[in-house]
Amino acid sequence: MLEALSMPFFQNALLAGALIAVAIGIIGPLSVANRMTFMSGGIAHATYGGVGLAIFMGWPVLGGAAAAALLAALLIAWISYHNLHRTDTVIGMVWAVGMAVGVILTDLTQGYHPDLMSFLFGSILAVNGADLWMMAAFDLILTALIWYFYYDLLALGFDPVFAALQGVKTRWLHLLLLVLTALTVVLAMRLVGLIMVIALLTMPAFTAERYARTLAGMMGVSFGLTLVYLLSGLFLAYRFDLSAGASVIMATAFGTIVFYIWNVKKG
């Protein structure tokens, strides 16, 4: 088992797991606190449309995914601002149509694409050095932005109407959160896959909410849990030759349920 640590690809995967845990530890609590879980799910799934388009056109996949994720974020922000009738239904459409576009475009693409599944379910083989640098840079920018807007975000999550009366630009802040969520999804895609990322954004935050007194504390606990779940999931994936995303999610769900039962018993 430990010989895995000496392999460069596995070192990359572990490092990527740690870097992604930072972004997910920050974005997850904000997504949960602002009731954006369904929106985040919509962004994650619609991103596959960009993956399909990039493969069809022969563009870099990461670029296509990022473009689609940002487009989905803008679209979902627009839908929720205009309070369209049945906002949830419309977001559900973005979710499914994005996915369908991706599947159809890859169907139409000639040749065999063995790594297609890895975009959906994640892979421990997929992360390279450039990805790591990108993740590290994103973590840095994300942390700086969240530090700067911390009290605005706190007010937005607790009481958006009051925050707006206090001069907080709640719409811009909400859009910023959706954009940061989109980028987090894209960066987590290679390791855990688009379908599974939503579980990582919600489950650690759900547990953290019970143990933290402040939003920053919730982010810290969320980061710690995500890190443990990601790393144990990656080891499981390596040991039993499983999909990285699915293994991480099973580890996450196991941890979440254990904490939940422990909490209920404690009263």
Binding site: F158, D159, L165, M218
Partner: protein, 262 residues
């Protein structure tokens, strides 16, 4: 201007929700230092009116003026207290952090609170009798305590007008009484506007009542009536029948024997 400027003035105010009129031609004046109860049936437009006064909604027609200027431009500080619904008790935030949200405008250039801000938060919290709760998580408090924290948050900005939306809706009777005693005390230094569907309590404290049901009718509550209501409130059932008041508004109301005798 020879006339003194009103704390709040609504002129021919109308508001439509998707073509359906929620308020029509509402005109009234609230003088500085008044205690106004905004009453009326659910769905009659009370909350809509409050949002117009706060500037959260823009009127379809007419104007709102706070000390002579529209809400968005008024340099007067308005403290807003929403209804405590307990919808966000799981949110990890401390009492002190919530109160500081009343000072979001005054932060330093790195969007941080100054020492001065922290002092103001603490003194606002002390004013509602909750200073020792500073570091508690908001979810650990009772509904009445949380409502007090929301009042402290509004007080932190040292408002000249305090506007409250159903501040006692989710609080038991004695808790309601305490909240209104607090508002009466605050009313000595600021104008207070309370939206409430619960006539019995608010009428014992307010000096004017604005009855809102699409249109609005201002009613003065004289000291004698207020005294009578308060006296009834301190009785066993703690409920104000309000027959005379409703008669004045042109509504017939049947009163119980006990109420007539009181």
């Amino acid at each position: 201007m020879s006339q003194t400027v009103a704390a709040i003035e609504a002129r021919a105010l109308s508001f439509d929700y998707a073509g359906y009129p929620a308020l029509e031609n509402v005109t009234f004046r609230v003088e500085e230092g008044d205690f106004l109860a905004v009453i009326g049936p659910n769905g009659g437009g009370k909350s809509t009116l409050l949002k117009l006064l706060l500037g959260v909604l823009k009127p379809t027609a007419g104007t709102v003026l706070l000390y002579g200027r529209p809400p968005q431009k008024a340099d007067v500080s308005v403290g807003y207290v929403p209804q405590e619904t307990g919808h966000n008790v799981d949110f990890p935030v401390t009492v002190g952090e919530v109160v500081a949200m009343g000072l979001l405008r005054t932060r330093t250039r790195w969007r941080r609170y100054s020492k001065e801000d922290e002092k103001r938060s603490l003194s606002a919290l002390a004013r509602v009798g909750m200073a020792e709760f500073l570091d508690r998580r908001i979810g650990e408090l009772s509904g009445g305590e949380r409502q007090r924290v929301l009042i402290a948050r509004a007080l932190a900005g040292e408002p000249k007008i305090l506007m409250l939306d159903e501040p006692t809706a989710s609080i038991d009777f004695s808790g309601q009484h305490e909240i209104f005693e607090l508002l009466a005390e605050l009313n000595q230094t600021m104008t207070v506007v309370v939206v409430s569907h619960d006539m019995s309590m608010v009428m014992g404290y307010a000096r004017h009542a604005l009855y809102v049901n699409k249109t609005a009718l201002m009613h003065e509550i004289d000291a004698h009536t207020r005294y009578q209501i308060k006296k009834q409130l301190s009785g066993e059932n703690g409920h104000y029948c309000g027959a005379e008041f409703w008669r004045d508004l042109g509504r017939a109301i049947t009163c119980t024997k006990a109420c007539e005798d009181a």
